[in-house]
Symmetry: C2
Subunit: 489 residues, 2 copies
C-alpha cells in the first residue's frame, strides 16, 4: 500500500460516513417521527463530530505529504482532499463550535421573527452570526478576501469579483426585460383542482422521462423539495398543491436535474471527493437546464399539455401555445423561491450584493432592512410590504450560509452556456422534446459534463462542455428571445 492508497481508503470510509449523514437529513425531512427531533439532533452532532475528526485527522496531512500520483484523476483527488483538509484545520475548533451553537439557535429566532414580522427581534442574533462568519472568513482567507473564502465552500476556484462581473452585466438587461414583460397582458390561468395522487403518478413519469433511475433512487414528498445522496442512492422529493400542479411537476424536474448529475457521475469515482457534483453552481446548472431550458420549452410543454389533459381533463387552458405562456408566466411577487426565469436572478443579485457588503464590513446589520427595501424598489419598481416578504424571507443567513446565494444564479448562467452548445449539437432537439423524449439532451449533459463529477474545477467543466468561458451572454440572449416571443415584445 502506498500513501496514496492509504489516503484513498481512509477517504472512502469518510465519504461513506458522509453519505450516512446525508441520508439522516433525508430521513428527517421525509419519514422521521416528529417527536424524534431532540434525539436526532444528538445523532447528527455525533456523526458530524466523527466526520470533523476524520477531515482534520493528522494522518491525512502525512499522507498528503507523501502521496504523489501521476495521473489526472489521482492529482484531482489529492487537490480536493488537500482543499478540504486545509479548510478544516484553518478554522479553530472553538470558533467552529461557536458558529454551530449560534446558528442553531438563530434559525429558531429567525423563524419566530418572520412569523411575527419583527426584524428587530432577529437583528441581534444575526449580528452574532455575521461577526462569527467574518471571523471564520478571516481565518480561511489568511489575508485574502473574506467573502471569496466563503464562496470557496460552495463554488470552489471562483471569486466574488468574477461573480460580480457577470451579475453586473446582467442586472440592467434583466430589469429592462422584466419591465417590458410586465407591461404586456397576462397569460391564461389554471382553473379547477388537481388530484394529488395523480400529480404524484405523473411526477414519477416525469422523473423517469428525464432519465432518473428509480433503481438507485426514489421520489417522496417533503415540505421543501430537495435531492439527496450520491452514487447508488440518490433520492429526490417533491410536493403537491391541489391548485398548482406545476409546483409538483417542476419541483420534480428540478430535483431530477440534481439527481441525474449525481447518478451520471462515473462510478469509478464513487465514495471519493470526485464522486459528487463539483459545486453548487454546476449542480444548479443541471437542475435549471432540466427545469427551464428543457422542461419549460415550447416543445416539451406541448407534450406535457397532452399528458396533463389526459390525466386531469380540461383545466382552463385553450391550447398548447397558451399552455406554454402559462407555464412561463411572469408575475409581480416578493418571494425568491416563487420567482420565474426573468426575475429570479434579480432576487439573487440583491442578496449577493448585500451579503458581500456585510462580510466586507461595508454594510451594518442594523442597516440591512433599509438596504434590502431600497434595492428591491429600485429593481422591481414597488415597495416591500412586510419583512416576511423582504429581508426575513430566507433561512440562509440565519444558519450562516454566506456565499451560497450567488451559486443559484451562477447555475442559470452556466445553464445558458451549456444550452447554447447543446442546441447546436442536437438539431433534432425540439422534435425529440415534443415527443417527451429528453434522452438526447440528458445524454449530451451526461457525456459532456455529469460523468466527470469533481474531476475539473467548476468554470473548467463548463468551459470544456460548452466551449465558452462562463459568461452572461448566452443566458441573456435565451431569456430575451424566449420571453420576447411569448410576450410579443
Amino acid at each position: 500500500m502506498t500513501a496514496f492508497d492509504d489516503l484513498m481508503a481512509f477517504q472512502r470510509e469518510t465519504s461513506a460516513l458522509g453519505q450516512i449523514a446525508g441520508r439522516l437529513g433525508w430521513d428527517q425531512e421525509t419519514v422521521m417521527p416528529r417527536g424524534a427531533a431532540p434525539q436526532r439532533a444528538e445523532e447528527m452532532a455525533a456523526i458530524e463530530s466523527v466526520l470533523h475528526a476524520r477531515r482534520s485527522d493528522p494522518r491525512v496531512a502525512e499522507w498528503l505529504d507523501q502521496a504523489d500520483p501521476q495521473d489526472e484523476v489521482g492529482k484531482a483527488q489529492i487537490r480536493e482532499i488537500r482543499r478540504s483538509f486545509e479548510r478544516t484545520v484553518k478554522v479553530p475548533a472553538d470558533l467552529a463550535k461557536a458558529i454551530a451553537r449560534v446558528t442553531s439557535s438563530a434559525q429558531g429566532t429567525w423563524a419566530q421573527a418572520r412569523a411575527d414580522e419583527d426584524v428587530a427581534a432577529f437583528l441581534p442574533v444575526l449580528q452574532e452570526v455575521v461577526a462569527l462568519k467574518r471571523e471564520e472568513g478571516a481565518a480561511l482567507a489568511q489575508g485574502g478576501d473574506v467573502y471569496d473564502a466563503m464562496v470557496e465552500d460552495y463554488e470552489p476556484y471562483t471569486t466574488g469579483t468574477q461573480i460580480a462581473d457577470i451579475f453586473d452585466q446582467m442586472r440592467p438587461r434583466l430589469v429592462a426585460l422584466r419591465a417590458a414583460v410586465l407591461d404586456r397582458p397576462v397569460p391564461q390561468s389554471l382553473t379547477g383542482t388537481f388530484d394529488e395522487l395523480t400529480q404524484m403518478r405523473l411526477s414519477q413519469k416525469l422523473a423517469t422521462t428525464f432519465g432518473y433511475d428509480l433503481n438507485t433512487g426514489r421520489v417522496d414528498k417533503a415540505v421543501h423539495p430537495f435531492s439527496s445522496g450520491s452514487g447508488l442512492d440518490v433520492r429526490i422529493t417533491t410536493r403537491t398543491s391541489e391548485t398548482d400542479p406545476f409546483n409538483c411537476f417542476y419541483s420534480t424536474i428540478h430535483e431530477v436535474g440534481h439527481a441525474a448529475y449525481e447518478q451520471g457521475i462515473d462510478q469509478a469515482y464513487a465514495l471519493t471527493p470526485l464522486g459528487s457534483g463539483v459545486s453548487m453552481g454546476v449542480h444548479e446548472s443541471q437542475s435549471r437546464i432540466y427545469e427551464n431550458q428543457l422542461g419549460r420549452s415550447r416543445a416539451f410543454t406541448g407534450w406535457l399539455f397532452a399528458q396533463m389533459t389526459a390525466a386531469f381533463g380540461d383545466f382552463g387552458i385553450s391550447d398548447a401555445d397558451a399552455f406554454y405562456a402559462t407555464v412561463n408566466g411572469v408575475h409581480n411577487g416578493y418571494i425568491r423561491t416563487e420567482a420565474d426565469e426573468v426575475q429570479y436572478n434579480l432576487h439573487i443579485m440583491l442578496r449577493f450584493d448585500l451579503e458581500r457588503a456585510l462580510m466586507a464590513g461595508d454594510l451594518q446589520v442594523s442597516d440591512l432592512e433599509a438596504a434590502w427595501n431600497d434595492r428591491f424598489k429600485a429593481d422591481f419598481g414597488y415597495a416591500v410590504d412586510k419583512p416576511s416578504n423582504g429581508c426575513l424571507q430566507d433561512v440562509h443567513w440565519s444558519v450562516g450560509l454566506f456565499g451560497y446565494f450567488p451559486t443559484y444564479a451562477l447555475g442559470n448562467v452556466y445553464a445558458g452556456c451549456l444550452y447554447q452548445t447543446l442546441r447546436a449539437a442536437l438539431p433534432d432537439l425540439d422534435t425529440q422534446l415534443a415527443q417527451g423524449d429528453t434522452s438526447g439532451a440528458t445524454g449530451w449533459l451526461r457525456e459532456n459534463l455529469q460523468q466527470y463529477g469533481g474531476l475539473y474545477a467548476p468554470r473548467d467543466i463548463i468551459t470544456r462542455a460548452s466551449g465558452v468561458e462562463p459568461g452572461p451572454e448566452p443566458l441573456m440572449a435565451y431569456l430575451e428571445d424566449k420571453f420576447g416571443e411569448i410576450y410579443r415584445l
Copy 2:
C-alpha cells in the same frame, strides 16, 4: 468533569452512532432503492468500523479505571460499559474480521443451498463459521464454557446450564400437550380475501391500542417484520397477506411489544447503555406477552373479532368463541416462524440442544442434518420432508448467531412469569381487554419492567417484576389451561 462524566459523554456519542447504524438497517429493509445495496454495504462497514474503534478505545479503559460512581444507576452504567469493552478487546481484530468476512459470504451460500435443497453445499462454509465462532467463544470464555460466552452476547448473566434446566422441564409436557391437541378436531378457517390497505389501517389502530406512541414511531411494511431503534425514534414494520390478516395483526402486536419496551424506558437513560432493552429474552418477553397472553386471549380476541367483522364483513367464522379457537389454532408444520404457542418452544429447544453440542464439539457439522431430523421426528412425530423445512430453514447459524435461539423461548418463559403476576394485580384485566383497552396491562408492564431498561440483569428484572425466579411453571400452567380449554382436553 470527572472520569465518569467524560466516559458517559463519550458513551452518549457512541450510543447516538449506534442508533444511526440501526436506522440504516431500518432504511435498508423498508425504503432503500434496490440498486443501492453495494454502496450500503460500504456505508454499514464504515459506521461499524467507527463503532468498533470507539468500543475498544483505550481511553475507555482509563476512564473505567478512574470512574467510581456511588449511586445504583452509575454503577449499572459502569457495569455495562465494562462488559461491552472487555467483550470487544477480548476478541482479536483479525478473528473479528474473519468472522465478518465468512458470515457475509455464508449467508448467500445458505440462501442458495436452501433454494436448491442442497445441505451438502452449505456444510463446508457452516463448518468454517462454527470453527471461527468456537475460536471466538474460547477467546471470550477464557477457560470457561464456550457456549455460555456466546449466550452472554444476547442474554447477559445467563448460562447455557440455566437455560437447559428450564427447557428440559418443559419439553416432555410440551410434547404431550401438542400430541393431545392435535388429536382433537381442528378449528374453523378464515375464508375470502382481506383488503391489504384495510389491514394496514387496522394494524395502525392495533398499534396505538397497545400503547405504541406514533409521535416517536411509525409503521411500515417489510418482508420480515421487525422493530428498530431506542428512545425517541422506535419504528416497527409489519407485512400483509391477502388471505391471512392474522399475519399482519399479530406481527404488528408482537413488534409493538418490542417497541413499547424501548419507548417505555426512562428517558433519563436515553443514549446510554441502560437506554435499551436489557436482553433479547426480556425483549421477547414483552413482544410475546403483548402478542399471546394479551393479544390472543379470549377477552381481546372478542374485541378483535368485532373490529374485523366491521372492517371486512363475514369471513367464515361463526362467532367470537370460534374466532378465539381459530386465532389459537394448532396445526402440524415444519417452520419455526409459523409455529403456534404450543409448538414454538419445541422448535427452539431442538436448535438450542444442537447448537450447544456444536459449540461443545459434541456434534460435528457433518452430522447436523441427521441430528436435526431425528430430533424433529422424536418431538413432532413425523419426518422432515426436505432441508428447507429442516436444518436449512433459519438464517441464524449462517451469520454466526449461536446463543441467540434460546432467547426466543426464554422470552416465553419470562412472559409466563410476568403474566401470572400481572393477572393477579389486575382483577379487571379481562373486562378491559374485552373492550380493547390494554392500558391496564401495558401500564403494569411499563411500571414494573419496561421503565428500568438495562438497570437490572435479565433474571433480576423478571424476578423483581413477577415476584418469582424465572422458571417454566407459570408458562406451562398457562399453556395447559388455555389449550386444554380451547381443545376440551
